[in-house]
């Protein structure tokens, strides 16, 4: 039996529903009476005829742009809101990690907030008492646990929030954009913990913009668009569809080359990340990486130089390479469709998610032809795999002066 079932679910919102006053209601009523024929005018269908079922133990990613219906779906899943028509069935205890720290009281200590948060998620006082220590342990906040949470950094907030939810013994775990907060080490800890929970047979639903976390984490993905299911299948298929969809959308809206950055004469169409065998991959080792940038020009572009900036998720530029002084790249012009690639024999970045920003500009003039940012790609370590601090790591040769000798003397 499915653990979650959406049966022809639709959800309608009345626009301007918030902040009603008697006056505006009367006015609205009058308006509605005036044009009785069109009652649908000020309503919005956030979800329309949505059907799917999730089996126990599945890891499902839900993807879609803003306004696609993801958060409405979450509200229906967590039974905060109810469908206008259709049926939502949920056959198991559900805990939701939505907006970390929702329900924290800023003036109370971390410990008090664990109790509050746990109780909100449906735990008994006795259960929380038992879980308090593991939670503090996981959050690595023992030193600050008696401090009011208003003095916490957002990273500490996130750590405490996740630490609470991961201890709740629920069959279904709902995670909303959690991977976007916290530092890299914490994100990894979350991911590891979620994998562990999945191994224990729990059903996990991850809602995210981040295509990388969906492909690397989920087996199945559902893509939403305008309140309907646009695609439902294996994570990699759906993510590929989503990317294609975004690109098509973009082309539709920008066919006049009205890009905000760049002259619009060149469009960077695609990024490819190739591993040492030359195969495309979203996850790369630190060795023999090729980043290939596909471009399309609508006229001849003079004296182009290419810049690649590898950025960490927090925006830090970890590596910046530039074709200016590369003899092979001293080209006078490019035209039409083509690609440019840079090969990195060894890119010793710390294992994490990165994006590439590609810029095509004029060699001498302050003229930017095009600028584009890639989807996330991932570096996995081959050396010092466990080392997550810093920006890069490299082999180090260690030595020690005979350590026992000094003592015996």
């Amino acid at each position: 039996m499915a653990i979650i079932q959406f049966d022809d679910v639709s959800k309608r919102y009345r626009l301007g529903g918030a902040h009603q006053s008697l006056l505006s209601n009367t006015r609205k009523l009058a308006k509605r009476l005036m044009r009785a024929g069109s009652p649908e005018d000020d309503t919005l269908w956030a979800l329309r005829n949505v059907n799917f079922a999730i089996e126990p133990g599945e890891m499902v990613g839900i993807i879609g742009r803003n306004g696609a219906g993801k958060s409405t779906m979450l509200k229906l899943l967590s039974q905060v809101a109810y469908p206008t028509t259709g049926k939502v069935e949920c056959n198991g205890r559900l805990s939701a990690m939505i907006e970390l720290g929702a329900g924290f009281h800023p003036d109370l200590s971390g410990r008090d907030n664990i109790f509050l948060s746990g109780a909100i998620q449906g735990l008994r006082r006795r259960e929380i008492e038992r879980l308090v220590d593991p939670i503090i342990e996981f959050a690595e906040l023992r030193k600050f646990i008696e401090t009011p949470v208003k003095y916490y950094s957002s990273g500490m907030y996130a750590r405490l929030g996740f630490a609470i939810v991961q201890q709740i013994d629920s069959e279904i775990l709902l995670i909303d954009e959690v991977l976007s907060v916290g530092d890299a080490a914490f994100r990894r800890k979350c991911l590891d913990r979620m994998r562990e929970m999945h191994d224990q047979g729990r059903t996990i639903i991850l809602v995210s913009h981040d295509t990388w976390s969906i492909t690397s984490f989920c087996t199945r993905a559902i893509m939403m668009d305008k309140g309907r299911i646009e695609a439902d299948g294996t994570a990699s298929d759906v993510v590929a569809h989503y990317r294609q969809f975004e690109r098509d959308e973009w082309l539709e809206h920008h066919h006049d080359d009205e890009r905000p950055s760049g002259t619009g004469d060149v469009r960077i169409e695609d990024f490819e990340f190739l591993d040492e065998t030359g195969a495309q991959a979203a996850e790369l080792t630190q060795k023999d990486i090729t980043i290939r940038v596909h471009y399309l020009t609508n006229k001849v572009i003079d004296n182009p130089v290419f810049i690649l900036r590898i950025r960490r998720m927090d925006g830090l530029v970890c590596c910046n390479v530039n074709s200016t002084r590369v003899p092979e790249m001293a080209i006078d012009a490019i035209a039409g469709r083509g690609f440019v690639e840079a090969k990195f024999a060894f890119l010793p970045l710390v294992p994490d998610n990165y994006t590439v920003e590609a810029v095509i500009q004029h060699r001498d003039l302050p003229l930017v032809y095009a600028r584009e940012i890639s989807d996330n790609f991932r570096i996995k370590g081959i050396i010092g795999n466990s080392e997550l601090n810093g920006v890069f790591n490299t082999r180090s040769i260690w030595a020690v002066s005979e350590p026992t000798k000094a003592m015996s003397e």
Binding site: A18, V80, D107, L116, A119, I120
Partner: protein, 260 residues
């Protein structure tokens, strides 16, 4: 109805933790902390005593005015602050209402329970006043909890109704303080019931709080039994209101979140 109550009972730990949080947050952020729970009613008592005893000399059948006043004032302050805070209990916690499901009545009931603490402190002050004053402890005081139970029913009903109604009609935010103020003048808080002209009394007694406050004074200060007819009316109104308000609350609960 029974399923609602069972669901609420299952969430009792949450309710108690929620109330603890509210009390803690309320008093740990101010320098004087719990002292405010004592200072606030005493300040109101002092100014009302001055106005209605020294300036207007309201008759109180031999009981010192401050004692007489406080007997009703403490319950009225409890009523007033509970209704004020529970009316805003849901809209003030939208953040949570939108994110996690648990019985929504936790919010208004919790807000009301936070005020119980203040009321207990006020009651302690009243008991101390009774000890100091030669007024004896009458055996009719045993009826005090019964009257309090009626008041709690009435308050709970109002809280449940208002906290949910305000979500759909935000104007309630402005109406409630205004009505509470007028209501205080139409309740025997600082004048005795005997002052009300007999021909107006039937209308005046439509207000359940009138019978409740009068009953408190009868049993605590004069050793009299309550006017059973009036008190029974207040009790019936309170219980009916509570049941109707709870059903209304649960029915509108499903649509709450769509209003935010």
């Amino acid at each position: 109805m029974t399923t609602y109550i069972r669901e609420l009972y299952d969430a009792r730990d949450l309710l108690s933790i929620w109330v603890q949080r509210e009390i803690k947050a309320r008093y740990t952020t101010s320098t004087l902390g719990f002292a405010w729970a004592v200072l606030q009613p005493l300040a109101v008592l002092a100014i009302f005593s001055f106005v209605f005893s020294v300036l207007l000399s309201v008759p109180t059948r031999g009981v010192p005015y401050p004692l007489w006043l406080f007997c009703g004032l403490s319950s009225w302050l409890f009523f007033n602050s509970s209704i004020t805070s529970s009316t805003n209990a849901l809209i003030g916690n939208m953040n949570l209402v939108k994110k996690v499901y648990f019985p929504r009545e936790i919010f208004p009931i919790g807000a009301l329970m936070v005020n119980v603490v203040d009321f207990m402190i006020a009651t302690a002050i009243f008991v101390i006043m009774l000890i100091i004053d030669p007024t004896p402890f009458y055996p009719t005081l045993l009826l005090y909890p019964l009257i309090l139970a009626i008041q709690l029913c009435f308050m709970m009903g109002l809280s449940l109704f208002l906290s949910s109604f305000i979500v759909f009609f935000r104007d309630v935010r402005f109406i409630v303080p205004l009505v509470l103020q007028m209501w205080m003048y139409l309740t025997p808080v600082f004048y005795p019931l005997e002052q009300v002209p007999p021909n107006l009394l039937p209308f005046y007694m439509l207000n359940p709080m009138a019978a409740i406050l009068d009953s408190y004074r009868r049993v605590a200060l004069f050793g009299q039994l309550p006017d059973w007819g009036q008190l029974a009316y207040a009790a019936v109104v309170s219980v009916l209101l509570l049941v109707a308000a709870y059903l209304y609350f649960k029915r509108s609960e499903r649509e709450l979140v769509d209003q935010f």
